[in-house]
Symmetry: C2
Subunit: 226 residues, 2 copies
DNA sequence: GCGCTATAAATCGTATATGATTTGAGACAT
DNA sequence: ATGTCTCAAATCATATACGATTTATAGCGC
Protein backbone atom coordinates (compact mmCIF):
# COMPACT_ATOMS: atom_id res chain seq x y z
CA UNK A 1 0.00 0.00 0.00
CA UNK A 2 2.37 2.70 1.16
CA UNK A 3 5.50 2.93 -0.86
CA UNK A 4 8.30 2.44 1.58
CA UNK A 5 6.68 0.34 4.27
CA UNK A 6 6.33 -2.72 2.10
CA UNK A 7 7.83 -5.58 4.01
CA UNK A 8 10.26 -7.76 2.16
CA UNK A 9 8.88 -11.11 1.24
CA UNK A 10 10.56 -14.50 1.22
CA UNK A 11 13.90 -15.34 2.77
CA UNK A 12 16.47 -12.62 2.64
CA UNK A 13 20.19 -12.38 3.21
CA UNK A 14 21.37 -10.52 6.27
CA UNK A 15 22.56 -7.75 4.00
CA UNK A 16 19.06 -7.40 2.60
CA UNK A 17 17.54 -7.51 6.06
CA UNK A 18 19.86 -4.75 7.20
CA UNK A 19 18.98 -2.79 4.09
CA UNK A 20 15.26 -2.95 4.78
CA UNK A 21 15.70 -2.43 8.48
CA UNK A 22 17.74 0.73 8.12
CA UNK A 23 15.41 2.05 5.45
CA UNK A 24 12.47 1.48 7.74
CA UNK A 25 14.22 3.28 10.58
CA UNK A 26 14.79 6.21 8.24
CA UNK A 27 11.21 6.17 6.98
CA UNK A 28 9.65 6.01 10.41
CA UNK A 29 11.87 8.79 11.66
CA UNK A 30 13.92 6.80 14.16
CA UNK A 31 16.97 7.79 12.18
CA UNK A 32 16.35 11.37 11.15
CA UNK A 33 18.42 13.35 8.65
CA UNK A 34 21.95 13.85 9.89
CA UNK A 35 21.85 10.79 12.16
CA UNK A 36 25.14 9.01 12.05
CA UNK A 37 25.00 5.37 10.99
CA UNK A 38 27.85 3.52 12.66
CA UNK A 39 28.49 0.12 11.14
CA UNK A 40 29.42 -1.71 14.31
CA UNK A 41 26.57 -0.21 16.25
CA UNK A 42 23.95 -1.30 13.73
CA UNK A 43 25.65 -4.66 13.38
CA UNK A 44 25.36 -5.29 17.12
CA UNK A 45 21.77 -4.15 17.10
CA UNK A 46 20.88 -6.61 14.36
CA UNK A 47 23.20 -9.29 15.68
CA UNK A 48 25.12 -9.60 12.44
CA UNK A 49 28.64 -8.65 11.46
CA UNK A 50 29.63 -5.34 9.98
CA UNK A 51 30.10 -6.69 6.46
CA UNK A 52 26.44 -7.01 5.43
CA UNK A 53 25.63 -3.76 7.20
CA UNK A 54 28.23 -2.00 5.13
CA UNK A 55 26.73 -3.46 1.98
CA UNK A 56 23.29 -2.27 3.03
CA UNK A 57 24.53 1.22 3.66
CA UNK A 58 26.28 1.43 0.31
CA UNK A 59 23.00 0.48 -1.35
CA UNK A 60 21.13 3.10 0.61
CA UNK A 61 23.74 5.57 -0.52
CA UNK A 62 23.01 4.63 -4.13
CA UNK A 63 19.34 5.26 -3.43
CA UNK A 64 20.18 8.70 -2.14
CA UNK A 65 18.88 8.08 1.36
CA UNK A 66 22.29 8.10 2.98
CA UNK A 67 25.56 9.92 2.43
CA UNK A 68 28.77 8.05 2.83
CA UNK A 69 32.37 9.15 2.92
CA UNK A 70 35.41 6.97 2.89
CA UNK A 71 36.92 6.34 6.32
CA UNK A 72 34.38 8.72 7.78
CA UNK A 73 31.15 6.82 7.71
CA UNK A 74 27.53 7.23 6.81
CA UNK A 75 24.74 9.48 7.91
CA UNK A 76 21.14 9.88 6.91
CA UNK A 77 21.07 12.33 4.03
CA UNK A 78 19.83 15.82 4.60
CA UNK A 79 17.74 17.36 1.85
CA UNK A 80 18.42 21.04 1.48
CA UNK A 81 15.94 23.24 -0.38
CA UNK A 82 17.72 22.73 -3.68
CA UNK A 83 17.71 18.97 -3.49
CA UNK A 84 14.11 19.06 -2.42
CA UNK A 85 13.25 21.00 -5.54
CA UNK A 86 15.21 18.65 -7.76
CA UNK A 87 13.63 15.58 -6.26
CA UNK A 88 10.12 17.00 -6.50
CA UNK A 89 10.74 18.08 -10.06
CA UNK A 90 11.96 14.64 -11.03
CA UNK A 91 9.08 13.01 -9.20
CA UNK A 92 6.57 15.23 -10.95
CA UNK A 93 7.99 14.05 -14.24
CA UNK A 94 8.05 10.32 -13.65
CA UNK A 95 4.87 10.21 -11.62
CA UNK A 96 3.02 12.22 -14.24
CA UNK A 97 4.07 9.85 -16.98
CA UNK A 98 3.40 6.78 -14.87
CA UNK A 99 -0.08 8.10 -14.18
CA UNK A 100 -0.72 8.75 -17.86
CA UNK A 101 0.47 5.27 -18.79
CA UNK A 102 -1.67 3.60 -16.18
CA UNK A 103 -4.78 5.73 -16.76
CA UNK A 104 -6.13 3.66 -19.67
CA UNK A 105 -5.88 0.50 -17.58
CA UNK A 106 -7.80 1.74 -14.55
CA UNK A 107 -11.22 0.24 -14.01
CA UNK A 108 -14.27 1.94 -12.56
CA UNK A 109 -13.75 0.35 -9.13
CA UNK A 110 -10.26 1.71 -8.80
CA UNK A 111 -11.34 5.18 -9.80
CA UNK A 112 -14.16 5.04 -7.28
CA UNK A 113 -11.67 4.04 -4.61
CA UNK A 114 -9.50 7.00 -5.55
CA UNK A 115 -12.46 9.33 -5.22
CA UNK A 116 -13.14 7.86 -1.81
CA UNK A 117 -9.58 8.49 -0.70
CA UNK A 118 -9.79 12.04 -1.98
CA UNK A 119 -12.98 12.54 0.04
CA UNK A 120 -11.12 11.41 3.14
CA UNK A 121 -8.40 13.91 2.32
CA UNK A 122 -11.03 16.64 2.23
CA UNK A 123 -12.15 15.49 5.69
CA UNK A 124 -8.58 15.87 6.95
CA UNK A 125 -8.78 19.53 6.02
CA UNK A 126 -11.81 19.95 8.28
CA UNK A 127 -10.22 18.60 11.43
CA UNK A 128 -6.69 19.72 10.60
CA UNK A 129 -4.76 16.47 10.21
CA UNK A 130 -1.75 16.99 7.93
CA UNK A 131 -0.20 13.63 8.74
CA UNK A 132 -3.21 11.64 7.55
CA UNK A 133 -3.53 14.04 4.66
CA UNK A 134 -0.03 13.19 3.47
CA UNK A 135 -0.54 9.47 3.96
CA UNK A 136 -3.79 9.57 2.00
CA UNK A 137 -2.18 11.65 -0.68
CA UNK A 138 0.36 8.91 -1.25
CA UNK A 139 -2.41 6.34 -1.26
CA UNK A 140 -4.36 8.38 -3.78
CA UNK A 141 -1.52 8.73 -6.21
CA UNK A 142 -0.38 5.15 -5.72
CA UNK A 143 -3.81 4.04 -6.76
CA UNK A 144 -3.45 5.97 -9.98
CA UNK A 145 0.06 5.02 -10.97
CA UNK A 146 0.44 1.47 -9.64
CA UNK A 147 -1.14 0.03 -12.77
CA UNK A 148 1.65 1.52 -14.88
CA UNK A 149 2.92 -1.25 -17.15
CA UNK A 150 6.51 0.02 -17.15
CA UNK A 151 8.29 -1.33 -14.07
CA UNK A 152 11.40 0.79 -14.54
CA UNK A 153 9.35 3.91 -14.49
CA UNK A 154 7.40 2.70 -11.49
CA UNK A 155 10.66 2.03 -9.70
CA UNK A 156 11.73 5.62 -10.26
CA UNK A 157 8.43 6.83 -8.85
CA UNK A 158 8.87 4.72 -5.76
CA UNK A 159 12.41 5.93 -5.25
CA UNK A 160 11.27 9.51 -5.51
CA UNK A 161 8.55 9.01 -2.93
CA UNK A 162 10.88 7.14 -0.66
CA UNK A 163 13.44 9.89 -0.79
CA UNK A 164 10.91 12.56 -0.04
CA UNK A 165 8.98 10.81 2.66
CA UNK A 166 12.16 9.74 4.42
CA UNK A 167 14.04 12.98 4.31
CA UNK A 168 11.51 15.73 4.58
CA UNK A 169 9.42 15.59 7.69
CA UNK A 170 6.42 13.41 7.22
CA UNK A 171 3.96 16.09 6.17
CA UNK A 172 5.69 17.26 3.03
CA UNK A 173 2.54 16.86 0.94
CA UNK A 174 0.62 19.26 3.08
CA UNK A 175 1.19 22.91 2.39
CA UNK A 176 -1.21 25.16 4.27
CA UNK A 177 -3.26 27.26 1.88
CA UNK A 178 -2.59 24.82 -0.93
CA UNK A 179 -4.29 21.69 0.38
CA UNK A 180 -7.78 22.66 -0.75
CA UNK A 181 -6.51 23.29 -4.25
CA UNK A 182 -4.78 19.95 -4.12
CA UNK A 183 -8.02 18.11 -3.40
CA UNK A 184 -9.76 19.97 -6.21
CA UNK A 185 -6.99 19.06 -8.63
CA UNK A 186 -7.35 15.43 -7.65
CA UNK A 187 -10.98 15.56 -8.68
CA UNK A 188 -10.08 17.23 -11.94
CA UNK A 189 -7.46 14.58 -12.61
CA UNK A 190 -9.94 11.77 -11.95
CA UNK A 191 -12.43 13.42 -14.29
CA UNK A 192 -9.83 13.58 -17.03
CA UNK A 193 -9.00 9.90 -16.62
CA UNK A 194 -12.64 8.85 -16.45
CA UNK A 195 -13.36 10.74 -19.66
CA UNK A 196 -10.51 8.97 -21.41
CA UNK A 197 -8.62 12.20 -22.00
CA UNK A 198 -5.52 12.35 -24.15
CA UNK A 199 -2.59 10.75 -22.29
CA UNK A 200 -0.49 13.88 -22.62
CA UNK A 201 -3.25 15.88 -20.99
CA UNK A 202 -3.37 13.43 -18.07
CA UNK A 203 0.40 13.49 -17.79
CA UNK A 204 0.59 17.26 -17.64
CA UNK A 205 -2.28 17.49 -15.20
CA UNK A 206 -0.57 15.06 -12.84
CA UNK A 207 2.80 16.74 -13.31
CA UNK A 208 1.53 20.25 -12.75
CA UNK A 209 -0.44 19.12 -9.76
CA UNK A 210 2.79 18.11 -8.03
CA UNK A 211 4.73 21.11 -9.28
CA UNK A 212 1.96 23.25 -7.84
CA UNK A 213 2.58 21.79 -4.42
CA UNK A 214 6.28 22.40 -4.85
CA UNK A 215 5.76 26.02 -5.83
CA UNK A 216 3.41 26.58 -2.91
CA UNK A 217 5.98 25.12 -0.60
CA UNK A 218 8.73 27.33 -1.98
CA UNK A 219 6.60 30.46 -1.88
CA UNK A 220 5.84 29.73 1.76
CA UNK A 221 9.52 29.49 2.55
CA UNK A 222 10.52 32.52 0.51
CA UNK A 223 12.88 30.23 -1.30
CA UNK A 224 13.78 31.47 -4.75
CA UNK A 225 11.51 29.76 -7.24
CA UNK A 226 12.73 26.77 -9.16
CA UNK B 1 32.26 12.72 -22.80
CA UNK B 2 30.75 9.33 -23.21
CA UNK B 3 28.41 8.46 -20.45
CA UNK B 4 29.77 5.32 -18.96
CA UNK B 5 33.47 5.52 -19.76
CA UNK B 6 34.14 8.36 -17.35
CA UNK B 7 37.07 7.33 -15.25
CA UNK B 8 36.71 7.69 -11.53
CA UNK B 9 38.68 10.50 -10.04
CA UNK B 10 40.52 10.69 -6.75
CA UNK B 11 41.34 7.83 -4.45
CA UNK B 12 38.81 5.09 -4.37
CA UNK B 13 38.14 2.11 -2.20
CA UNK B 14 38.73 -1.31 -3.67
CA UNK B 15 35.00 -1.80 -3.75
CA UNK B 16 34.62 1.32 -5.87
CA UNK B 17 37.47 0.26 -8.12
CA UNK B 18 35.82 -3.10 -8.66
CA UNK B 19 32.54 -1.33 -9.33
CA UNK B 20 34.02 0.83 -12.08
CA UNK B 21 36.13 -1.97 -13.47
CA UNK B 22 33.24 -4.36 -13.89
CA UNK B 23 31.04 -1.66 -15.34
CA UNK B 24 33.72 -0.85 -17.87
CA UNK B 25 34.05 -4.50 -18.83
CA UNK B 26 30.30 -4.59 -19.38
CA UNK B 27 30.31 -1.37 -21.37
CA UNK B 28 33.18 -2.36 -23.63
CA UNK B 29 31.62 -5.72 -24.26
CA UNK B 30 34.22 -7.90 -22.53
CA UNK B 31 31.42 -9.14 -20.31
CA UNK B 32 28.43 -9.48 -22.57
CA UNK B 33 24.84 -10.12 -21.45
CA UNK B 34 24.52 -13.47 -19.76
CA UNK B 35 28.19 -13.62 -18.77
CA UNK B 36 28.52 -15.08 -15.32
CA UNK B 37 30.29 -12.90 -12.78
CA UNK B 38 32.01 -15.15 -10.27
CA UNK B 39 33.13 -13.32 -7.16
CA UNK B 40 36.32 -15.22 -6.53
CA UNK B 41 37.35 -15.07 -10.15
CA UNK B 42 36.98 -11.28 -10.37
CA UNK B 43 38.62 -10.92 -6.98
CA UNK B 44 41.71 -12.80 -8.16
CA UNK B 45 41.80 -10.80 -11.36
CA UNK B 46 41.79 -7.52 -9.45
CA UNK B 47 43.97 -8.87 -6.66
CA UNK B 48 41.45 -8.05 -3.96
CA UNK B 49 39.30 -10.19 -1.73
CA UNK B 50 35.76 -11.23 -2.54
CA UNK B 51 34.15 -8.83 -0.08
CA UNK B 52 34.56 -5.59 -2.05
CA UNK B 53 33.74 -7.41 -5.27
CA UNK B 54 30.48 -8.55 -3.82
CA UNK B 55 29.68 -5.01 -2.78
CA UNK B 56 30.42 -3.79 -6.29
CA UNK B 57 28.16 -6.40 -7.82
CA UNK B 58 25.29 -5.57 -5.51
CA UNK B 59 25.59 -1.94 -6.58
CA UNK B 60 25.61 -2.92 -10.24
CA UNK B 61 22.52 -4.95 -9.53
CA UNK B 62 20.83 -1.85 -8.13
CA UNK B 63 21.77 -0.05 -11.33
CA UNK B 64 20.12 -2.79 -13.34
CA UNK B 65 23.29 -3.83 -15.16
CA UNK B 66 23.54 -7.27 -13.56
CA UNK B 67 21.15 -9.74 -12.07
CA UNK B 68 21.94 -11.40 -8.81
CA UNK B 69 20.37 -14.28 -7.00
CA UNK B 70 21.08 -15.45 -3.52
CA UNK B 71 23.49 -18.38 -3.33
CA UNK B 72 23.51 -18.53 -7.11
CA UNK B 73 25.55 -15.54 -8.16
CA UNK B 74 25.53 -12.73 -10.64
CA UNK B 75 25.44 -12.42 -14.37
CA UNK B 76 25.35 -9.52 -16.77
CA UNK B 77 21.70 -8.64 -17.26
CA UNK B 78 20.00 -9.55 -20.47
CA UNK B 79 17.55 -7.05 -21.90
CA UNK B 80 14.64 -8.76 -23.58
CA UNK B 81 12.44 -6.81 -25.97
CA UNK B 82 10.07 -5.78 -23.20
CA UNK B 83 12.77 -4.40 -20.96
CA UNK B 84 14.30 -2.65 -23.92
CA UNK B 85 11.01 -0.91 -24.56
CA UNK B 86 10.61 0.07 -20.92
CA UNK B 87 14.11 1.41 -20.67
CA UNK B 88 13.81 3.38 -23.90
CA UNK B 89 10.44 4.74 -22.82
CA UNK B 90 11.83 5.87 -19.49
CA UNK B 91 14.90 7.33 -21.15
CA UNK B 92 12.76 9.24 -23.63
CA UNK B 93 10.94 10.78 -20.70
CA UNK B 94 13.87 11.84 -18.56
CA UNK B 95 16.10 12.80 -21.46
CA UNK B 96 13.36 14.87 -23.01
CA UNK B 97 12.79 16.79 -19.81
CA UNK B 98 16.52 17.17 -19.16
CA UNK B 99 16.92 18.59 -22.65
CA UNK B 100 14.06 21.02 -22.13
CA UNK B 101 15.51 22.17 -18.81
CA UNK B 102 18.96 22.69 -20.23
CA UNK B 103 17.83 24.31 -23.49
CA UNK B 104 17.54 27.85 -22.07
CA UNK B 105 21.08 27.64 -20.70
CA UNK B 106 22.80 26.58 -23.91
CA UNK B 107 25.00 29.18 -25.56
CA UNK B 108 25.56 29.67 -29.28
CA UNK B 109 28.91 27.85 -29.20
CA UNK B 110 27.39 24.72 -27.74
CA UNK B 111 24.58 24.71 -30.27
CA UNK B 112 27.10 25.12 -33.06
CA UNK B 113 29.04 22.19 -31.69
CA UNK B 114 25.87 20.11 -31.69
CA UNK B 115 25.21 21.01 -35.32
CA UNK B 116 28.75 19.96 -36.12
CA UNK B 117 28.24 16.59 -34.45
CA UNK B 118 25.01 16.11 -36.31
CA UNK B 119 26.82 16.85 -39.59
CA UNK B 120 29.30 14.11 -38.74
CA UNK B 121 26.39 11.79 -38.12
CA UNK B 122 25.10 12.55 -41.58
CA UNK B 123 28.55 11.62 -42.90
CA UNK B 124 28.32 8.29 -41.14
CA UNK B 125 25.25 7.55 -43.22
CA UNK B 126 27.25 8.06 -46.41
CA UNK B 127 29.99 5.54 -45.63
CA UNK B 128 27.81 3.23 -43.57
CA UNK B 129 29.29 3.43 -40.06
CA UNK B 130 26.65 2.57 -37.48
CA UNK B 131 29.11 2.36 -34.60
CA UNK B 132 30.36 5.92 -35.02
CA UNK B 133 26.78 6.98 -35.66
CA UNK B 134 25.72 5.66 -32.29
CA UNK B 135 28.71 7.17 -30.50
CA UNK B 136 28.05 10.55 -32.10
CA UNK B 137 24.38 10.27 -31.28
CA UNK B 138 25.25 9.99 -27.61
CA UNK B 139 27.64 12.89 -27.95
CA UNK B 140 24.96 14.98 -29.64
CA UNK B 141 22.36 14.40 -26.97
CA UNK B 142 24.86 14.73 -24.14
CA UNK B 143 25.72 18.16 -25.47
CA UNK B 144 22.09 19.14 -25.22
CA UNK B 145 21.21 17.74 -21.82
CA UNK B 146 24.46 18.04 -19.88
CA UNK B 147 23.63 21.63 -18.92
CA UNK B 148 20.50 20.44 -17.14
CA UNK B 149 20.50 22.05 -13.70
CA UNK B 150 18.81 19.12 -12.01
CA UNK B 151 21.46 16.56 -11.05
CA UNK B 152 18.96 13.89 -10.04
CA UNK B 153 17.34 14.02 -13.41
CA UNK B 154 20.72 13.96 -15.11
CA UNK B 155 21.65 10.92 -13.10
CA UNK B 156 18.57 9.12 -14.36
CA UNK B 157 19.49 10.00 -17.93
CA UNK B 158 22.98 8.64 -17.45
CA UNK B 159 21.68 5.44 -15.94
CA UNK B 160 19.32 4.94 -18.83
CA UNK B 161 22.10 5.40 -21.38
CA UNK B 162 24.41 3.17 -19.43
CA UNK B 163 21.83 0.42 -19.32
CA UNK B 164 21.14 0.63 -23.01
CA UNK B 165 24.67 0.97 -24.25
CA UNK B 166 25.87 -1.84 -22.03
CA UNK B 167 23.16 -4.34 -22.68
CA UNK B 168 22.07 -3.89 -26.27
CA UNK B 169 24.80 -4.30 -28.79
CA UNK B 170 26.66 -1.11 -29.33
CA UNK B 171 24.67 0.16 -32.29
CA UNK B 172 21.28 0.43 -30.69
CA UNK B 173 20.85 4.04 -31.83
CA UNK B 174 21.17 3.08 -35.46
CA UNK B 175 18.07 1.64 -37.04
CA UNK B 176 18.42 1.23 -40.81
CA UNK B 177 15.82 3.28 -42.62
CA UNK B 178 15.37 5.53 -39.63
CA UNK B 179 18.79 7.11 -39.36
CA UNK B 180 18.17 9.81 -41.97
CA UNK B 181 15.02 10.84 -40.19
CA UNK B 182 16.96 10.91 -36.95
CA UNK B 183 19.48 13.39 -38.32
CA UNK B 184 16.68 15.56 -39.64
CA UNK B 185 14.95 15.53 -36.26
CA UNK B 186 18.19 16.62 -34.63
CA UNK B 187 18.23 19.68 -36.85
CA UNK B 188 14.61 20.41 -36.05
CA UNK B 189 15.33 20.09 -32.34
CA UNK B 190 18.27 22.47 -32.57
CA UNK B 191 16.11 24.97 -34.44
CA UNK B 192 13.49 24.82 -31.73
CA UNK B 193 16.08 25.44 -29.04
CA UNK B 194 17.75 28.24 -30.97
CA UNK B 195 14.42 29.97 -31.46
CA UNK B 196 13.71 29.81 -27.76
CA UNK B 197 10.69 27.58 -28.20
CA UNK B 198 8.35 26.73 -25.37
CA UNK B 199 10.05 24.23 -23.02
CA UNK B 200 7.20 21.76 -23.39
CA UNK B 201 7.64 21.84 -27.14
CA UNK B 202 11.35 21.10 -26.78
CA UNK B 203 10.62 18.36 -24.31
CA UNK B 204 8.13 16.64 -26.56
CA UNK B 205 10.33 16.99 -29.61
CA UNK B 206 13.23 15.34 -27.78
CA UNK B 207 10.97 12.67 -26.32
CA UNK B 208 9.28 11.80 -29.58
CA UNK B 209 12.59 11.73 -31.35
CA UNK B 210 13.72 8.89 -29.13
CA UNK B 211 10.36 7.14 -29.17
CA UNK B 212 10.54 7.30 -32.95
CA UNK B 213 13.78 5.34 -32.87
CA UNK B 214 12.19 2.85 -30.53
CA UNK B 215 9.17 2.38 -32.77
CA UNK B 216 11.37 1.95 -35.83
CA UNK B 217 13.39 -0.64 -33.98
CA UNK B 218 10.28 -2.53 -32.94
CA UNK B 219 8.72 -2.38 -36.38
CA UNK B 220 11.91 -3.82 -37.81
CA UNK B 221 11.77 -6.69 -35.37
CA UNK B 222 8.07 -7.32 -35.82
CA UNK B 223 7.83 -6.94 -32.08
CA UNK B 224 4.37 -5.92 -30.93
CA UNK B 225 4.34 -2.15 -30.52
CA UNK B 226 4.67 -0.60 -27.10
C1' DG C 1 44.27 30.29 28.37
C1' DC C 2 45.80 28.89 23.51
C1' DG C 3 47.82 26.15 20.28
C1' DC C 4 50.58 22.24 19.23
C1' DT C 5 51.96 17.44 19.43
C1' DA C 6 51.56 12.66 20.92
C1' DT C 7 48.90 9.07 22.08
C1' DA C 8 44.70 6.35 22.56
C1' DA C 9 40.11 5.14 21.08
C1' DA C 10 36.82 4.60 17.65
C1' DT C 11 35.73 3.45 13.20
C1' DC C 12 36.34 2.11 8.61
C1' DG C 13 38.17 -1.22 4.86
C1' DT C 14 39.28 -5.56 3.54
C1' DA C 15 41.79 -10.07 3.83
C1' DT C 16 41.08 -14.47 5.67
C1' DA C 17 38.48 -18.29 7.43
C1' DT C 18 34.41 -20.95 7.87
C1' DG C 19 29.74 -22.58 7.38
C1' DA C 20 25.84 -22.96 4.04
C1' DT C 21 24.02 -23.75 -0.46
C1' DT C 22 24.14 -25.12 -5.01
C1' DT C 23 25.92 -27.62 -8.90
C1' DG C 24 27.90 -31.42 -11.26
C1' DA C 25 29.84 -36.13 -11.75
C1' DG C 26 29.72 -40.77 -11.05
C1' DA C 27 27.51 -44.98 -9.27
C1' DC C 28 23.70 -47.60 -9.20
C1' DA C 29 19.16 -49.50 -9.98
C1' DT C 30 15.44 -49.79 -13.08
C1' DA D 1 19.13 -45.25 -21.82
C1' DT D 2 16.99 -42.87 -17.99
C1' DG D 3 16.33 -41.44 -13.53
C1' DT D 4 17.98 -40.81 -8.91
C1' DC D 5 21.11 -41.03 -5.15
C1' DT D 6 25.49 -39.71 -3.07
C1' DC D 7 29.30 -37.16 -2.52
C1' DA D 8 32.76 -33.81 -3.86
C1' DA D 9 33.80 -29.37 -5.79
C1' DA D 10 32.52 -24.75 -6.57
C1' DT D 11 30.52 -20.82 -5.01
C1' DC D 12 28.10 -17.78 -2.08
C1' DA D 13 27.32 -15.45 2.67
C1' DT D 14 29.16 -13.78 6.59
C1' DA D 15 31.82 -13.87 11.00
C1' DT D 16 36.27 -12.78 12.59
C1' DA D 17 40.72 -10.57 12.54
C1' DC D 18 43.73 -7.00 11.56
C1' DG D 19 45.72 -2.96 9.40
C1' DA D 20 44.65 1.93 8.06
C1' DT D 21 42.51 6.18 8.89
C1' DT D 22 40.21 9.45 11.47
C1' DT D 23 38.83 11.65 15.70
C1' DA D 24 39.12 12.61 20.49
C1' DT D 25 41.98 13.39 24.51
C1' DA D 26 45.70 14.59 27.34
C1' DG D 27 49.88 16.68 27.97
C1' DC D 28 53.17 20.34 27.20
C1' DG D 29 55.28 24.70 26.06
C1' DC D 30 54.23 29.38 25.42
Amino acid sequence: MTVSTDSPTGDLSKAQLAHHWIRSRISDGTFSPGYRLVLGQIARELDVSAVPVREAIRLLEAEGLVTFERNIGAQVAMLDATEYVHTMQTLSLVEGYATALSAPVLDADTLERARQINAEMADCLGHFDPVSFTRLNLEFHSTLFEACPNPHLLDLVHRGWSRLSALRDSIFSFVPGRAHESVAEHTALLDLIENGADPLQVELAARNHRLGTLDAFLARQNTPAR
